[in-house]
Symmetry: D2
Subunit: 342 residues, 4 copies
């Protein structure tokens, strides 16, 4: 259910409607837009009696939302959400005119490796550094990440290079730590329907980068984001990273048509991860170009200076020279789609 | 890596090998078989120097395990694992000659509903009662389960009806509670690669029912089980519940060929969930018959006395009369595959 | 569009309605049922004016058929279609109380091989012999079948062993020949949407065995059958042979839930091919049992006396001893589902 | 098997090797490259004794080709194949530096509709006109195309507008006619493994546009092309048009990563069909940009001046204004990938 307020509704009118909603045992989510404010109602498992709301001052109408998602929908908020990420070098916007690039190694292996990659990332003009401290691995015998020591290394990189930090949390415990150290908290594909973790992310003080699950439909993807917004954290960045199909020439099948599909339904920004999306180094550049051309808000790319010796996912990491080339090509394509790249 | 001991190796020889392994910073898993003992080694991220082990008394050979899983493999243990579940009415075996049937409502809605269904489950001769206290739901606005009150209702059903209790945990917090109340802890399909939860399940004192993820390959499924065994809990029951494909005539595509495929590779028992596997009431009976005919060790079935008013998954719940029929048909097919049904 | 006639409508009334339909440039398909006759109308690309039909004597009602298929639908014909196949040893029914088993080698390699397998097929009590004369192969360099010489070998086997012959046509030319020699004409999975071939099959004088395409939805499968019926050949036998999914433990994923789904929507019989459905010899028996348990009308099984030297698909052929075992197990399960096996 | 000749091998030496191959009952395919000539050998179902070939003058080596395809492979021909299409306005190259655009209506409905769309296609600077005369439709009751009258309309459009004509053949009969009228013969996705039709296409005198099957792996796609080349027609243009997956937000999932994957393995040009690839008008432009950005050799696009009244596939046809915009955007992206667009 959405309550749509008049364009000239006062703040007090909005507050009154919210109070009425909460008095019914429900939760009110005022969503200010440039033209009008809408108020999402959550907490109702079924239909609610809304007669009394429509009669309140400043209310235009109450829309029963038939789509399964509410807060992530363009019905709730017409204009694009721009998520602001704080970095030592200033705010980075994700979802605006400027493309957002996030780059770094799959996993933080040690301080020297991290600093080497960070030097290249910085040199390429990338403002956000990614690196894994907690790695969800198919095998219990694979390298699982360094944990908090990796977070500390990234915190130092933040200070030294002025890069914003993006890293994954895999459970409530690691999310507590990641929230403390990172600028953006990543939820991985395997946890896209870990609803307990999504709720915790919804109470976090940092933006959430939510990756699409390996076999998630578009509705399921948006509903996962809805979990986060419904707990109060509206700073959600979506990320397409390939889905599982019968094909065997790439590790996953990058579904670029989901980008315009998301943009029609939702106001949230969406990035593309061409590294996991293809699993092959030689396809990262072509698919990065394609992702920007299709209209994505940015890229999440794995970079390693010595991928053959990387402790994880070396096969899909590009080298620093390729990152430079990627930035040049993406910058050229950005202008065609009326975007920029700092 | 597996260390294979001689048939007549003494307990002391086995213990010595284990101590040597642990002195290398690794973890030893002695797996007694009827003919020989094998010792699984875990904790190594890559190759390990095994020269010294092969020279020890009682050791036949050290096998580098090329398959990604070790402890769940038939290489580690030749004979079938039979998981024993304690119930007030005695031990129930899963994986032996007798088929194991687990039945109950999708979710515990209230005490009366639970007791009504339990009466029918008991009357049908089913020894294990399933019911959801914590429900992973696609939408944050759907019924999420009653939580601990549902666990208490199930504990009372356990006492009143003598039924063993099977229920799902969705995070570490709920697992603590479920471990206390239930006889079998279920890990759902959406959490099959929630590795943090799998590790916690590996330290639980109760058997784990692990459902296959929606797009999990057989290797990924067995590796998820490996996570649990590698932490020390060897009482794992697998469960096929349908995978996601392009088809639209059922909610998921039940992959019955995975049953013989698992049985070749692993010693763990495997059940079939025809309710989630099809999502349609009118297909539960035919697919239950097929599951037993293909060689599954049992079934996990949703039953509700009033499915049209069920708070979740009513479309796939069968009614008590259908459960009676299911038991009769399954009993007849069991004899063809040399199984019994109490 | 379906015209439903009264239970006591005379033959003349039915004929009059058919004539009126044909005078409109459309095609009438009278479908006699045990209770009533329905007349399917085909040939209309869009809506047709049916006012005049409903006013005719003997007509109950005209039903605009919203489902995309008409003639294959249970709306058109309530009771199951039983397809009669003529063999030298008498009629074989497919779709009735008795299960139909078809067995033989993937390809006819030479007279001796064919006779050897036929001896075993006959000995196992199987009434229908399958063998490929024209093989659709992924590679142009693989064995493509012997062509007409193989048809001649099968014709001799028909005479010598009294077995009905089932073999595949891959284009209009081969269909002309197959129609001459065989008792059932098979259309393979790769040709399920070769609409030109389907139309030709619809004008054939022999029953058609139509295999489901590798990624065909249920609607597409039934629409392919509709092509055949719409040309006048109502003797169509459907066959599930596995669909393509992400899984890698079997060559295809056998979708047994399609059996009850077809039986709800259509009156046509449906078989299961566990050989192509799994691609692995050791899964043919378990999945054959499951296919019969789920309610299929029979099986199509590949048998070879020396599968390791078969020119095609040896990996999925069972040996004669396994066929004997299969028949015994299937016979036992048949009684549970109220079927018989001669 | 490939015989690689020395760079300076004489024509006579090449001819001698070919004669020797043919004397063994096999077929020789000399493939002249800019550096060297390779000779593909086909017709062998298994291994062949090649000792005698390697000893012949001018031969460097004989390579047993482990990949299932030979003639389509980069091993057989290193440099890109550029397929020349004759049009009244001159030769159009597909696979070279210039992008090839093919546009037109899904089906030719009548002369006026065809001429109207052709006017817009011409005005947009597109050199090749597509239109369906024979339509493979899921339902026998859907519009199946006008047949030869549509071919005649297209022949007139060829003369009037100077456009090359691309249209689909669905069986041997229609291929005979299409070969007569069209400049490029299309084989549709549903016929990608209609091997009888592929062989006939291999004997055609016109280039073949081969679309990827709905669930074809990359190997199967290339093997289908191999069928055509192995019969002697080397002018094959591949086309990605989306594959079938679990997703529901587009009709098919456009697999753009197959473009670089094909380009690594094969010398054949590859186009993208964003109309069938998405099935939605509003996604055609974004995915067209992405297709060019990823490196495709061109596009196959459906255009209609009145898509809401199109007899087929109106939902995915763009309007003439959108075609103009598409050309402008694609032209801008082409320069980034070092391509041009006339």
């Amino acid at each position: 259910m959405l309550v749509v307020m008049q364009a000239h509704a006062t703040e007090e009118q909005v507050r009154s409607v919210c109070e009425r909603i909460e008095s019914l045992g429900l939760r009110a989510h005022p969503i200010p837009g440039s033209n009008r404010t809408a108020i999402g109602i959550t907490g109702n498992s079924g239909a609610i009696d809304i007669g009394s709301l429509e009669a309140m001052p400043g209310v235009i109408e109450c829309i029963p939302v038939s789509k399964p998602y509410k807060l992530v929908s363009r019905d709730a908020k017409e204009e694009n959400t721009v998520v602001k990420v704080s970095t030592p070098a200033g705010e980075v916007s994700i979802g605006g005119a400027s493309l957002a690039i996030i780059a770094g190694p799959c996993a933080i292996e040690n301080r020297e490796q991290a600093r080497t990659v960070a030097t290249h990332v910085k040199a390429a003009g990338v403002p956000l550094f990614r690196g894994g401290a907690y790695k969800p691995r198919t095998s219990p015998y694979s390298f699982q990440g360094l944990g908090e020591p990796a977070l500390k290394i990234m915190a130092d990189i933040r200070d030294e290079f002025g890069l914003g930090i993006v890293t994954e949390a895999i459970d409530n415990e690691s999310l507590d730590l990641v929230e403390e150290y990172a600028d953006v908290i990543q939820i991985g594909a395997r946890n896209m329907q870990n609803f307990s973790l999504l709720k915790r992310a919804g109470r976090a003080s940092k933006p959430i980068l939510l990756k699409r699950g390996m076999s998630a439909t578009l509705d399921e993807f948006l509903m996962a984001a809805e979990y986060i917004l419904s707990e109060g954290n509206y700073r959600v960045i979506l990320c397409e990273r390939g889905v599982r199909t019968f094909t065997d020439h790439t590790r996953n099948t990058l579904d670029l048509s989901v980008i315009p599909a998301v943009q029609i339904r939702s106001h949230l920004p969406i990035l593309v991860d061409p590294s996991h999306g293809t699993g092959r180094r030689n396809k990262v550049l072509p698919l990065s170009r394609a992702a920007v051309a299709v209209g994505a808000d940015g890229l999440l790319v794995e970079v390693h200076h010595d991928p053959d010796r990387a402790l994880s996912d070396g096969a899909q990491s590009i080298i620093p020279d390729e990152l430079q080339l990627l930035m040049a090509e993406v910058r050229a394509i950005a202008t065609v789609v009326h975007r920029t790249l700092n």
